[in-house]
Symmetry: C2
Subunit: 328 residues, 2 copies
């Protein structure tokens, strides 16, 4: 049995999509229990494995993250994080304010002792459909070489436990493949990764190869990672837009679009990284999953599933034993 | 009359594409003179405004940049750069080894006095077809806030003189639009740019908006810029590949592809940044244009045209007067 804490109030279409996703999840998994935090009056679920806890406040997208976590003590997000902190729940999922959720993770759930900087992880699509684990996508704007090494260790465990890859390769994102390439951060991080024996180091990988299965895990600092993530989103969206206007630009193109519609939709699904679940703040004393703010019920369901697998696989315990202070 | 020095031997398909481009350029522009550096025996041009200078060496893609520039004294690239240094030519164009060309620019052509770090500039496509000036895409892996400010000043002049935009807006690439976002580099650079009065500061711009005309010039450090450039290339190529395989996956899709072919090719052309010319190393005592290694004659021709406009517009003189030590 895995017990998860869930924020009913976070995200553009909350609570509806959260409720739909929770309903489906408890029906699909008989070994899943959920504590739902939010406005009781809006909750439409009655299920023996779903407990609703009423909260009088909610954190909005406009709230300043750290202040919101400190002041809105009876918000659904704070209460959810406290349930993980106390050990009552193994993990939590929210589609709310990303900064606030990261603060809740850091200040309420807390870091694993020995993990210096928890990192934000996403799984991104590749052409083959396999995807890769990418981190840090913005938990820390600045990083030291030792942090990148620790990200790599955390990402390696994540790829093994959540993505089921037995021996994941870990690459260092850089502006060239040779060891001497990059800035002082990547040069030093390369040295640290080349020395260690825990994971298979794939060396430097370039941004142009990211969608071509260059490595199972790709590590970078949070500034660069966030930049690349937003660039990927932006380019995919822009190309999609240009393409759509081409398809609608004439009658004959519209006919061709009709023929292609089903296959193009499949292609778009393959490119949509919400399909791979939410982003995860790794290195904490519990699993904290951020579902996209614009999540559909399906994407939120994926995020719940992800948190459930993390619980089953005891990923936090493994991190404590292999990366954290228990390892020393 | 503008005189340019051109490297006949650089690039995957040299000297053929170089010769084709030069022929077209001297025919199209009656006020253009060219000195062509390379193997005389391979030169097929006889034209009153094209002078061929024989060189016994050439720098290959495998050569280590700095060493190649120092040792291959009779290479076409070194001789070309020397012609700019001496003032004989106003600018130069090569499709050869990028690192070597940057070294030739720095060590032979030389920096404008007062410009601390010359930067590599490209023009990238946007959905509207307008495009934007992006820098530094890799001349310097590390940068200080003052360097970013100087890049902005150089890019501003470039957008005015080469792209003909009267009052170009300059944005700072960052991971959020608020002034306080980013790492210590971008936070300080933001302060410097917000203070100055020379150019219109568009504030922080995000990587997801790059293709949507967020600013006429976007400035970042060379590590991040190179990363974004390669990511753009990689994503566009990967999406293209996935799309192509969808179009070829069935008979009915192939029929639809036939209908769309012409419009899709137009779309690809709009996305191809080689159409906007080469990349330019800004801040030197002469214009140094790098045409893509895999340039077609058409792309090399664009790069020649770019160097010619830079010469006509006296861009180097303007940079000396407004950014360089002559300004102090």
């Amino acid at each position: 049995m895995v017990k998860l804490a869930i924020d009913m109030m976070g995200g553009d279409d909350a609570p509806q999509i959260v409720l739909d996703a929770v309903k489906k999840a408890v029906n699909d998994f008989s070994d899943l229990e959920i504590i739902l935090f939010g406005d009781e009056a809006q909750c439409t679920i009655q299920h023996e494995r779903v407990e609703v806890r009423h909260c009088t406040e909610e954190i909005t997208m406009e709230d300043e993250p750290v202040r919101a976590i400190k002041r809105k003590k009876d918000s659904s997000m704070v209460k959810m994080a406290e349930a993980v902190k106390s050990g009552e729940a193994e993990g939590c999922v929210s589609a709310g304010n990303t900064g606030a959720l990261m603060s809740a993770g850091l200040f309420i759930v807390g870091r694993i002792k020995g993990v210096e900087r928890p990192a934000l992880v996403v799984t991104l699509p590749t052409i083959s459909g396999k995807g890769f684990v990418f981190m840090d996508v913005g938990a820390n704007a600045e990083a030291k070489p030792e942090h990148l090494l620790q990200y790599a260790q955390l990402g390696h465990i994540y790829a093994q436990k959540i993505r089921g890859i037995e021996h994941p390769s870990v690459g260092l994102l850089n502006i060239g493949t040779e060891a001497a390439k990059g800035n002082s951060l990547t040069k030093k991080a390369y040295g640290l990764m080349a020395e260690q024996q825990v994971f298979k180091f794939a060396g430097n990988v370039e941004a142009k190869g990211l969608m071509q299965d260059v490595a199972d895990v790709v590590v970078t600092d949070g500034y660069t990672g966030n930049m690349i993530l937003k660039n990927l989103e932006g380019v995919a969206k822009s190309i999609g837009k240009m393409f759509k206007s081409t398809l609608l630009s004439s009658f004959k193109n519209k006919m061709a679009a009709l023929i292609l519609r089903k296959d193009l939709n499949q292609l778009m699904t393959k490119m949509d990284y919400a399909e791979y679940g939410g982003s995860v703040l790794l290195g904490l004393n519990g699993t904290v999953v951020k579902a996209h703010g614009s999540s559909s019920a399906k994407a939120f369901y994926s995020a719940i599933k992800q948190a459930k697998i993390a619980g089953e696989q005891r990923i936090v315990q493994t991190m404590k034993e292999t990366v954290g202070a228990e390892n020393e």
